[in-house]
Symmetry: C2
């Protein structure tokens, strides 16, 4: 089985955009905005939006199951206040849940949280609980910068975030660290903000001692860990300067990296530098980079080709494709068994 | 000849710190602060600070000449106003000039600019001119984020920066894109802010069309280009999405990368992904990562070892070690000839 741990619902029917636009247009007077119940998307529309897109490509490329969360760039936690994000997160999570119900063999949900800049993360707990208990979601996406490129929240090692971590530990679910749209003109969303956030999160975890407080807490850093694997020597050296243990001990029991790196030399480096047990297969398809690489004739985000080219043993490939995901997302196995019963 | 294009004066005598501390302590009433002339550092003190540190390591590691600029993390452009930065930059640049005069075979200057958040970069021109004309400096360091981690200036492709670019073109000098200390708790200075800035700058240049306006403008992106080479497929794909030419044409006549990547797999990737003509040898020694790598028994920042391990042809190695630096910093050759005459 090939599990893609990083997919977003980037192809939702147009009605979702329209609803969000109406919500944003009414920010100053939310009473005049749309209600959640105003959004009408039929099962057929959902089926079509998936079958013609993600599912088609999954079949072509040979992946079986995608851990599926709301479109990252549309989370836009910087818009409005907690109530804005709360309604929006509930709608987006429910759509992912419906997709997972329609395609139980192929999709399983991960939640976006109703974060809002400057708001206590504790406010996200009810939505998180709902997604795990009612929807059987297996993970969450945690945005370390709900301001959208202004970076005003404390680092991930700060107690500010502990309420989320306590719930993650209780439910035994991991968080993918994933920012949303940049509203800072300096940072292109998918070309700078995403990658910077990955690097930033990794360094925040390196500086802190979070996993002493939460030994079972698990994070997935997407986009191949930002710059971290490329600069692995720098990070090993900085850990030394900061009198931290070796990174293997300090971070690698708790921090995992996906394979959303869109060329062979990048995947070669990732799998050379990091233990294979810390690498989870992913493509972020259909996402930021949708084109065909003229150098290979294949889609940039067809990351399975890069993994195949590594010529790993079946056991090693199985770790990256399936075993690590089942270990990092233990609710996945439970949910799949339940679905089949 | 082996040229290290990225060295900072991180070992300046203590008197420099004391002067800066006094300046910062008097920010509210600069008249009570120190004058530039209050700083007394003898030639012997300068000699000692270099001979026992950078020069010793250069000799051990076999590099000949370092392009030498003020300590990057101490530029701290976010402190005070333009006058604060102006006096501070003048002092720091003069010290680098004195080092280059004391060790003319081994050091040549690159300038820090007296940038200040929200201040027109045009104000930096007099210091830039002084450093090129009087000190024969061969390049500058340009800080894309003088706020120190809050990213409030426009992207590098914006007209905001054109006055600097016009001077760079006039003098035929490149800029290394280099931020300074982060005063944003989210960003560790050398583990996140530096690397993010490199990635951000690269993406800003990718999004823009700056080199249409300035075809001879040249930038060096330090720290191996941040995350850019590791995600080269992503950037090639994003350029496609943005309808830009191939990166080779769009950026690689004007954008260069140094070799401050502190492990072999990183250097392997850098030299595999980028044309060798775009890679300049550098170590940023003595800098952020000063320790010995337990995996190799050698200093992390002894980057020459990684280049040597590539087993390049003499011609290829010569490009990285010398030829590219002479091409990107044409005033270097002129200055060296003049010194020898």
């Amino acid at each position: 089985m090939i599990i893609d741990c990083h997919g977003h619902y980037t192809t939702a029917p147009r009605a979702l955009d329209d609803w969000r636009n109406a919500q944003v247009a009414a920010l100053k007077d939310p009473a005049r905005g749309p209600k959640a119940s105003d959004l009408k998307i039929s099962d057929d529309e959902l089926r079509e939006s998936i079958a013609a897109n993600q599912l088609k490509l999954m079949k072509q490329r040979g992946s079986d199951l995608t851990i599926f969360s709301p479109r990252a760039s549309f989370m836009a936690h910087h818009i409005g206040d907690f109530n804005t994000s709360s309604t929006w997160a509930a709608i987006c999570n429910e759509l992912c849940h419906r997709v997972a119900k329609l395609f139980p063999e192929n999709f399983i949900g991960a939640a976006m949280l109703p974060q809002s800049p400057g708001v206590d993360p504790r406010t996200c707990i009810p939505e998180l609980e709902r997604c795990v208990r009612e929807y059987r979601f297996v993970g969450i996406n945690l945005n370390p910068d709900p301001s959208g490129g202004h970076w005003k929240e404390p680092p991930l090692s700060d107690r500010h975030w502990y309420p989320i971590y306590e719930k993650m530990v209780e439910y035994d679910i991991p968080a993918m660290i994933h920012v949303s749209t940049s509203c800072n003109a300096c940072f292109h969303t998918t070309g700078a903000h995403y990658i910077n956030a990955d690097t930033t999160a990794f360094m925040q975890l390196l500086q802190g001692d979070l996993f002493k407080a939460f030994p079972t807490l698990r994070f997935v850093i997407p986009h191949g860990g930002g710059a971290a694997p490329y600069h692995w020597g720098r990070y090993r050296g900085l850990a030394q300067e900061l009198k931290k243990p070796l990174l293997t001990e300090h971070l690698l029991n708790n921090v995992f990296f996906d394979t959303c790196v869109y060329h062979q030399p990048g995947i070669d480096l990732l799998t050379k530098v990091l233990p294979l047990g810390n690498i989870l297969f992913a493509s972020e398809m259909i996402g930021a980079v949708r084109g065909i690489d003229p150098e290979t004739g294949h889609h940039y985000d067809d990351t399975r080709r890069y993994i195949e080219a590594l010529r790993l043993s079946p056991l090693q490939a199985g770790q990256i494709y399936e075993g690590n995901a089942r270990r990092v997302y233990p609710r996945l196995t439970a949910a799949l068994q339940q679905r089949r019963n």
